[in-house]
Symmetry: C2
Subunit: 205 residues, 2 copies
Amino acid sequence: MSLSSALLEAAVDQLATLPGIGRRTAMRLALDLLRREKHEVNRFSEAIRRMRDEVRFCEVCCNISDEPRCAICRDPNRNESVVCVVEDIRDVIAIENTRQYKGRYHVLGGVISPMDGIGPEDLNTRQLMDRVQAGGITEVILALGTTLEGDTTGFYLNRKLTEQGVMVTMLARGLSVGGDLSNADELTLGRSIADRKPYEQSAKR
Amino acid sequence: MSLSSALLEAAVDQLATLPGIGRRTAMRLALDLLRREKHEVNRFSEAIRRMRDEVRFCEVCCNISDEPRCAICRDPNRNESVVCVVEDIRDVIAIENTRQYKGRYHVLGGVISPMDGIGPEDLNTRQLMDRVQAGGITEVILALGTTLEGDTTGFYLNRKLTEQGVMVTMLARGLSVGGDLSNADELTLGRSIADRKPYEQSAKR
């Protein structure tokens, strides 16, 4: 595909670097941007540049924040002794949306993935261990994805954290609420049998 | 979804204005950009800003071009007397890729769509009529999409162009090459029967 404009080509090349965006889609996005007013496209490109240039990370939990400490770490009504470890800010948003959690977070910024060359030192694990060593934390909840990488990361963190004498828990795995048994995959259904709980204790919720 | 960073929120808002990109995808794209080096993100946002600020349109055919006249309009080996009218630059690329066409183009920059408030005056129709009136053009090929909007645009242009005494043609509609009869939709199959051609004339190709 050779374009009649090097400027258009450069923009399409850049848009095509985004995850899940191929060259055809990138072309569609570029043509959409071309049809807009100049000041709109300026605002678009500025928002992206400023985000990368100016965003910072909370000095406590490594969450994205515009201030040195994020709003959750500054909130005095949240339980400081429980820390929920997640991969990225999307997981924070998902858990906050449940309104079930009133503790703090720690954002790893990824998961251990030897295939992609990502080890513990590439994540915010050092900051997590420092928080635990500083004292006052009684429970760390590992809220990681149920993938090979999530499991690997959980295995690593559980070992390190248990050495520090802190209680480590993980999210329950089992049937989706509102889901059929026949729709659940074998691993999940198997896990839900192995992890079954007394009826009285569970059904009350 | 409330984010901990207004900068991130602004970037997600902007990315979500792109066609086909919802807020979840926009968040994924923003987090991907956040993980990159600052100079990479600068290059990304600059390529988009420069494209919109500096790109121009060919003064003859309205195609995107970095120079006053596009490469196709400057090419002396292309037939000036045949003009192929298309919706946008993607159609130019698609036709060029067939290597079957050696005439010139005219890029409308859209199609007539009353639902979206787009009339002939919002497209490059004036420039097309000016080209035809200037003389030297014997055939105008309407290479528009086979949608309601494409048909409306074709109907409008055919009337205007015929008034000028120029021959107006349109792309053939029929079975896809390599396609089964049972896979063709009813409208296409019906059209391919109505537009059937003498075997000797068609099968030789």
